[in-house]
Amino acid sequence: MTWVNALSTGAWVLLLAVPPLIVLLYFLKLRRQPLAVPSTYLWARTLEDMHVNSLWQRLRSSLLLILQLLLVGALILAVLRPGCQSDELVGERFIFLLDNSASMSATDLGGESRLQVAKGQIRNMIDLLARDDSAMLLTFSDRAEVIQSYTKDKELLKRRLASVQVREHSTDMSEALAAASGLANPGRIATEETDVQVADAKPAQLMIFSDGRARSNPDFIFGHLTAEYFPIGTENPHNVGIVAFAINDEWVSEGKLQAYAKIQNSYDAARSVNVSLYVNDVLYDAEGNVALTAGGATGVRFDLQSLIPSLTEPLKIRLQIDEPDDFLMDNVVFAVLNPPQPANILVVTPGNEYLRVALNTEAIRQAARVAFRNRDYLSEQDYLEQALFGRFDLVIYDQCQPTTMPQCNTMFIGNIPPGDVWTMGAKTFPTPLIDFDQRHPVMDALQLSRLTIVEAAALTGPTGTQTLLEATYGPIMAIGPRGGYQDLVLSFALMEMDEQGQFMVNSNWPSQLSFPLFIQNVVRVLGGGARIVSTRDARTGQIIALRRLPHVERVQVTAPDGQTYTVPRSRDGDFIFGQTDLRGWYTVTDLTPDGDSFAFAVNLLDPQESELRVKESLDIGGDRIEGTQARQTVRLEFWKWLVVVALVVLVVEWIIYNRRILL
């Protein structure tokens, strides 16, 4: 019990003079009314009986005095502000924000997983909640989940807490913060005159239990939330993990199929590990004693070229670190090698020889079947059916335009797609180029410094359109989305046919080395020529769009744990699959008589998760929240209760004063 002096010495003298004053006034005030009675004989005997407990009688007779002294005593104590340090949670509403991302499965806290430790801490805090306090439980990985909304039922909270499991996902706190903020900081409606708050703010205590391995949230505003961060984990966890894995297809690596992995060491000492590569669960290759510096990373490479001849069915690749550590999820990565499927490409051209030559390279011939047609073919039934059913992977419209867009990716040269989504300005001459986007896969490895274009026009596309080549007057080459497909549009022709049927050269690009490379990129990116290695970028929790032949209405996806999901075709024509919660191989089977199947792999592959060192503070919304190692003690003040006691005493005194006969 501690006290806080809230008054000056003079005030204390005045206050302490009150009780003696009351006693004085009491004795001055008490004038008993004399009353003659026949005899005090019986009264004397009565009083004698009662004097057996005379002290109590005296107290009773001066009950009002005692109550008044009690009242002043309670007020004096209240002024002293008594209080004590307590672990008790202070507040009315609490939000427990529990990280259940992959890194919380690390066992660096004495064999118990971080999630178990965090759950234990939350359970203890639930026990500390006052009876009228309400709390809610949110978990977050790459998405947030409300495990239990606000409740005062502690047992319910504990039951729900016990049901929380680790998800093999990366960490993103923003969604959870938004959910927590929803009640504490209600939105506002702005009108012309003023803005109106739509609901009462409900301040809450936000308690974040995490290892801190989350992306920063600079835009978040706490508002009425008061945040506390409880770091879960150690400073020096033992972990070596695979943080990147890719299998390069044979085009890019000049006909070689190779697997690359990046291995990261979170130890504070140098380590060496053995890495093994399994194909269909059979050891294919291994690299021993991969040396890693303290906190460093290194790469390993495996040659898979010898697998290409046997690629008649999907091969399941698994790369793993053989030595166990505190975090096992990043010790294994998965990949799938699907048999190559040549792309089906239609080129509608009035006779562009450069294009024909560029599409006739050895690499493209291996990866794609290319058909050349003139623009009359666009009105034929065969084209209409094939375009409608998506038999093509890519259609290149050279200086022509279909009436409706086909169900595939397209490339327009010197023209734009039909409709009003794309617009093209007037032809402009000359066309000085100012920039091109080398980061886009279509423009990969292109050198366009000597490119010259005679006439072109400025382009605008749908939302999400990326400019690939820009002239002084605007974009002249751009790629834009259309449902699940992409349209690449060049506003300039490579060769133009004049009124006499003579071809006029509009650009020097076809004669440059970068042109066949560009066409190769187009075929690989838009024609699906990279499908030899499937969905290498799939991460846990990611929503995947699967593309199948048009006659397939439903597919069945088998998850690594054996659970099957039937996925219908979406309106965009793709099969949208979101249950990618587990790492491993997913098998997709067409629910058709022939039942074709392929596989894809899902991995964690998050350097943030593999970097296990706990963060001592969180940066959220420009604020730095320092970690709280133990519950901060708070000072519980009792003065309010003393004032309540004083009020009760006052009421009792008043009742007694008015109804003394009852006592």
């Binding site: 004399p34 009353l35 009675v37 026949p38 005899s39 005090t40 019986l42 005997r45 009083l47 003394r660």
Partner: protein, 298 residues
């Protein structure tokens, strides 16, 4: 026979008409000094035959039944029931404590004494009413006959309300002055701090048929008090400070009940007929119902 018409008259005409038909009854056989209208269990001279017994020399020859001698040739003496008068004493407590209540306990006591005295006078009993604790008691007249009613009432009206002699010494004085036997009715509130036990023992020593009428006022039985009070004894000025509460009043009533019960037990063990009455109870009702039940009148 109206005595007077004022409100505080001791005997009202209605009461008198009831009393006319009553007589005082004693449970004991007393020897009266004069022949009265009362039939005694003692054999003596009267017109009412009681029994026969054998003649022994020395007997009054006038009571020999000569007719029986003619038939049986043996001498028998005729015995007759004696008719005699009754000594009736009424002692009225005139201490200051009696001068409380509405009507006051003293007035009630005088009224009761007058009523009982009237019954006795009507039956030619020997009546003596004394104010206890007052010097006036020395001059208490012995009354006999209906004609003495006025004298009795006049004497009663002289009773003071401030007698200060102790209860015990007053009764002792009475016993010394009066040796006669008969009925004694003591009308008091028993509020004497020295206690009533020793005083009553003086009476018990005398062979009297004793009735104790314990008179209490409504204010004593159920006091209507509130607040912080200083109670002052009317007799000795003793002061008691109380803060009235339900608990205190309950305790007072409990004490009173024990006091009454103690007096009742004390009396019953010593053949004293005890009766507690409140000044609220009319005198005529007290006499016609309660005293008749207890055998004082019939």
């Amino acid at each position: 026979m109206a005595v007077n018409s004022s409100k505080d008259q001791l005997l009202t005409p209605e009461l008198l008409s009831q009393l006319d038909r009553m007589e005082l009854v004693s449970r004991k056989i007393f020897r009266g000094r004069m022949k009265g209208e009362r039939r005694s269990r003692r054999k003596g001279q009267s017109v009412e035959f009681a029994d026969y017994r054998n003649y022994v020399p020395g007997d009054d020859l006038r009571f020999i039944d000569w007719n029986l001698y003619a038939r049986l040739e043996r001498l028998f003496l005729k015995l007759f029931l004696e008719e005699e008068d009754l000594h009736f004493y009424a002692l009225v407590d005139c201490s200051r404590s009696m001068d409380f209540g509405e009507p006051s306990k003293l007035f009630y006591a005088k009224q009761l004494a007058a009523a009982l005295g009237y019954i006795g006078l009507c039956r030619s009993d020997r009546i003596r009413i004394e104010p206890l604790g007052s010097p006036l008691a020395q001059q208490a007249p012995v009354l006999r006959g209906r004609k003495s009613v006025w004298q009795m009432l006049g004497y009663l009206n002289q009773f003071p309300a401030d007698a200060d002699a102790p209860f015990e010494s007053s009764l002792k004085s009475f016993c010394l002055r009066n040796s006669g036997k008969g009925i004694l009715v003591l009308i008091t509130d028993l509020m004497d701090k020295a206690g009533y036990e020793q005083a009553l023992k003086y009476l018990i020593a005398r062979d009297l048929d004793i009735y104790l009428i314990h008179v209490l006022s409504r204010a004593e039985i159920d006091p209507d008090l509130k607040g912080d009070l200083r109670l002052i004894d009317s007799e000795d000025g003793d002061a008691r400070e109380i803060t009235v509460s339900t608990r205190l009043l309950d305790r007072y009533k409990d004490t009173l009940a024990r006091f009454i019960q103690g007096a009742r037990e004390f009396c019953s063990k010593r053949s004293i007929t005890y009766m507690m009455t409140s000044t609220d109870r009319p005198v005529d009702r007290l006499i016609s119902r309660y005293l008749r039940q207890r055998g004082l009148v019939r």
